[in-house]
Symmetry: C2
Subunit: 279 residues, 2 copies
């Protein structure tokens, strides 16, 4: 029997738990500071048992940390402290540089695997856990050369078993890329929601005219501030640059409209259309 | 037998045709400058027949105009010129003020109904036509007091038959609202695509890390420039203001990140989250 502890029973931790628990030889141990989440995770049968952190660490072959990225950074060294040379600690946070930096000189660094499953929804908490959330989706392992080969291989095997495809990248490159293809999307969506709510003060009926296009672009604005505040904060250098570039493109677009430069605005849209073939 | 002409056999015209043609007592006549679209519409059985515009007008009880909004504005007066007091002309463009203005003094203005079905996808052309696209979606009729009561009622009945719910609003208020809940969404999505493509010059593998969140926010960037350029252009006063307000919110968000004002950024996200209960 393999024991897997999952620290943080929210959307990501809960979904990993939900898929792992169906596998015959895995015992899933849930850990969460939030007592209501522990209770709910048991009721929803996401976990086989709930334990305090210290007991969970002792019992586990794998310890998966699925809490906000600032909390991962704070907690990770103390989780690595007591583990032995067979145990594996994995984090599944959305930013990786600061987390890797926090343990770069830790004596047990080689037992740690920095991972990021590229999957999620705009919902949060144990009740947001979904079966098959990771199936067919990528998981990025960062700075793999800092981890023992066996730890990386076992992590890949565990995550393969719930459908993830493993990819490998440096933590710095990962964070830069994610600033554009994930964090910026969340910022633009949060901002769209704020802009529309602002105009609602004068035009209270405005959302009556919202259609599926608006729903799609504003969906990520429903995401958890507790999850995303620290992600934005930990990746603020790259993200700030990405926002600047976005604003620059937006100003160009706006200018083409205001000056009736229809050739230019059509050119911009035709260029934007290329995302069809790129995605 | 009711004869309905549809001018413009793209996503919207084609989808209206596709739903109407299944109704027993309706003959759907297709009209399109693009010969390939006419041929495709017949192959896809979107229409019963294809006719030149003048013949289609003569034969029809309803004439539905589903072409880009600048072309509607240009064509509409000449379509209203020859019609009699039983015929009804409907446009389904996404902006309404300029179109209504173009015919405000036309002797046959009362036979015209300015409509906007709030439905669509990011695809275009006859092959993008979808069965049931309008089912359960709203259709806004603008400046209804300028149309004959019977024309409004018959339009509502026709559109109800393919599942639209009718709502009524002034063209000016419609355009202002749509600037925020539709046109701005398209602008932010086009801009996201441009920003990410720009960074791809240096980071060619960046889209490997794109997930469902990015796909959702960038979806509208696949939309047709031929459709959207004139929509943006016709609504540029409202849209330009909406973009300014969006940039102002984005700058506030960015500043909260850069100054590590986590209380402020969490407050902004919590406010943005309210879209959950509003939508």
């Amino acid at each position: 029997m393999i024991n897997v502890s999952i620290i943080g029973l929210g959307l990501i931790g809960g979904s990993i738990a939900k898929d792992l628990i169906t596998q015959l030889n895995i015992n899933v141990i849930g850990v969460d500071n939030n007592k209501a989440h522990c209770k709910l995770a048991q009721e929803l049968k996401l976990v086989n048992e709930v334990q305090p952190l210290s007991i969970a660490i002792q019992k586990s072959d794998f310890i998966i940390i699925a809490i906000p990225v600032d909390a991962i950074e704070d907690l990770l060294p103390s989780i690595l402290d007591p583990i032995n040379n067979e145990q594996i600690v994995i984090d599944v946070g959305s930013t990786k540089t600061a987390i890797c930096k926090a343990v770069e000189n830790h004596p047990n660094r080689k037992r740690f695997v920095a991972a990021h499953p590229l999957a999620g929804t705009e919902f949060s908490g144990p009740e947001a856990a979904l079966t098959g959330l990771f199936r067919g989706n990528k998981c990025i392992i960062c700075d793999q050369e800092q981890s023992s080969e066996d730890a990386v291989e076992s992590t890949a095997k565990l995550f393969n078993s719930i459908g993830m495809e493993m990819h490998y990248q440096s933590s710095v490159s990962h964070d830069k890329h994610l600033a554009y293809v994930s964090h910026l999307s969340h910022i633009t969506s949060f901002t769209l929601s704020l802009t529309v709510q602002d105009i609602m003060k004068d035009e209270s009926q405005i959302l009556n005219l919202a259609s599926t296009g608006f729903a799609s672009t504003v969906r990520l604005a429903k995401s958890s501030p507790q999850t995303w505040r620290p992600i934005f904060s930990k990746n603020k250098q790259h993200l700030s640059l990405a926002i600047d570039e976005y604003i620059r493109h937006l100003e160009t677009f706006k200018q083409s409209l205001e000056t009736d430069n229809e050739g230019k605005s059509e050119e911009l849209m035709t260029q934007a259309n290329k995302i069809k073939t790129l995605l």
